[in-house]
Amino acid sequence: MSGLGAFLWQRRAEILALTGQHVLLVAAAAAIATAIGVPLGVALTRRPRLSRPVLGFANTVQAIPSLALFGFLIPVPWIGGIGARTAIVALVVYSLLPILRNTYAGILAVDPAVREAADGMGMTESQRLRSVELPLAFPVVLAGIRVAVVVGVGLATIAAAIGAGGLGVLIYRGVATADHRLILAGALPAACLALAFDFGLGLVERRLGPRR
């Protein structure tokens, strides 16, 4: 084990740089998926007839094997190609579903009596959304973002396959050279990242959760 420690220490600069790339990939994808998923989830609660096909479609897309999706995206103009941009697009696709689904479920779970109270006080629809529905749905929405980020950290290791960098670079190199230490040099920091994000977002959830 001390051999592995020394190995990791020796390569700390590279591990750190790749970890940084990894965090950027996941964070960018989560931010974009949130920016799309939350408004879309809200819109679905306003048009219930669309919710089934849209959620079904998002579900299906998520069932595409991730390596295949990365591959499919390479020849696509604008969003495709080799590199980080394509990887972020693929990660957004996977992050979207939990965020979309939780936003939809979280808003629908708001007590109808509270929603009617907001209407009866004379809130406009957007006031009701901003000051009542979204705050009350927030813990559920955040739980969706948390799932998306944790899953994204794992998926982003595959991004190395299309030249997007990140900790997957070490894992692929390790697999190619049958070097377990190299695989661990990528896998250990990735696992730690997933746990750290999970813990950190869990803290935020408890601190900002409106139901006390």
């Binding site: 009617e116 209407d119 009866g120």
Partner: protein
């Protein structure tokens, strides 16, 4: 204020209103007027259309036929959002915003109306004191930290915050035990003397209606069976249904 005669300019008036949801009519040929400053109780069994009648007043619902007039104009011609801000609404079980403090709940409508902060604070302090919840002690609490009775008090304070000329109350003391209920009823009479607002109060309890209201309207199967001051209903019930209600009360 108590009068069964037609009042010159009611704050709220229903004329031949019909409202149905899918199946049968919930309200049919429903007519009722509430004069300024008057308290009218709408009494009936659950499912008789009482809550539907209230929601027609603040346009949470619109009638299928007939007319609802509020503040002298057709409700249908008024912007629902603006109208609701002018009408106090006390909801069953309180209907408080669970993520807001007691003070934030009470300040809800004044904030929507854009009152300056100082005015909002002063008004919330005054109202919380009036409903027996000293603001220093209760203002920063959340609804989850209150008893059922305290929540209903906050609901009353919230409905009155912007000084509405019309207040709709839906079973406002329904979730209380008999002792708490009697205490709130006594307080209601004291508050009412201060507000001067017209009140349309929905209840299934005729005893409560007789205690609190200037006039009582008995609603059964979507239509009004009798409207009058409590004495009229006691002395001359209009039909068998009303007579039975009144006799139940004596028993």
């Amino acid at each position: 204020m108590a009068s069964s005669a037609v009042t010159p300019s009611p704050v709220l008036e229903y004329a031949n209103v019909r409202k149905s949801f899918g199946g049968g009519a919930v309200l049919d040929s429903f007519s009722l007027a509430v004069a300024p400053g008057e308290t009218v109780a709408l009494v009936g069994r659950s499912g008789c259309g009482k809550t539907t009648a209230l929601k027609l007043a603040n346009r949470l619902l619109d009638p299928d036929a007939g007319a609802v007039r509020v503040f002298g104009g057709a409700a249908s011609a008024q912007d629902p959002v603006a109208l609701r801000r002018r009408i106090g609404w006390v909801i069953q079980e309180g209907g408080l915003f669970p993520h807001w403090t007691v003070r934030e709940n009470v300040e809800a409508v004044p904030r929507l109306l854009g009152w300056p902060e100082e005015k909002r604070r002063a008004r919330a302090d005054e109202l919380l004191a009036t409903v027996g919840l000293p603001p220093a002690e209760f203002g920063a609490r959340r609804p989850s930290g209150l008893s059922g009775g305290q929540r209903q008090r906050v609901g009353v304070a919230r409905a009155l915050a912007a000084g509405p000329a019309l207040v709709l109350m839906d079973e406002p003391f329904g979730a209380l035990d008999p002792i708490g209920r009697r205490a709130m009823q006594a307080e209601f009479l004291a508050w009412k003397a201060r507000w001067g607002a017209a009140v349309l109060l929905v209840t299934h309890d005729l005893r409560e209606a007789f205690r609190l209201a200037d006039r009582v309207a008995v609603l059964e199967r979507g239509a009004i069976r009798q409207v009058g001051v409590p004495d009229e209903l006691r002395r001359a019930p209009a039909d068998a249904f009303v007579r039975e209600l009144v006799e139940d009360l004596r028993a």
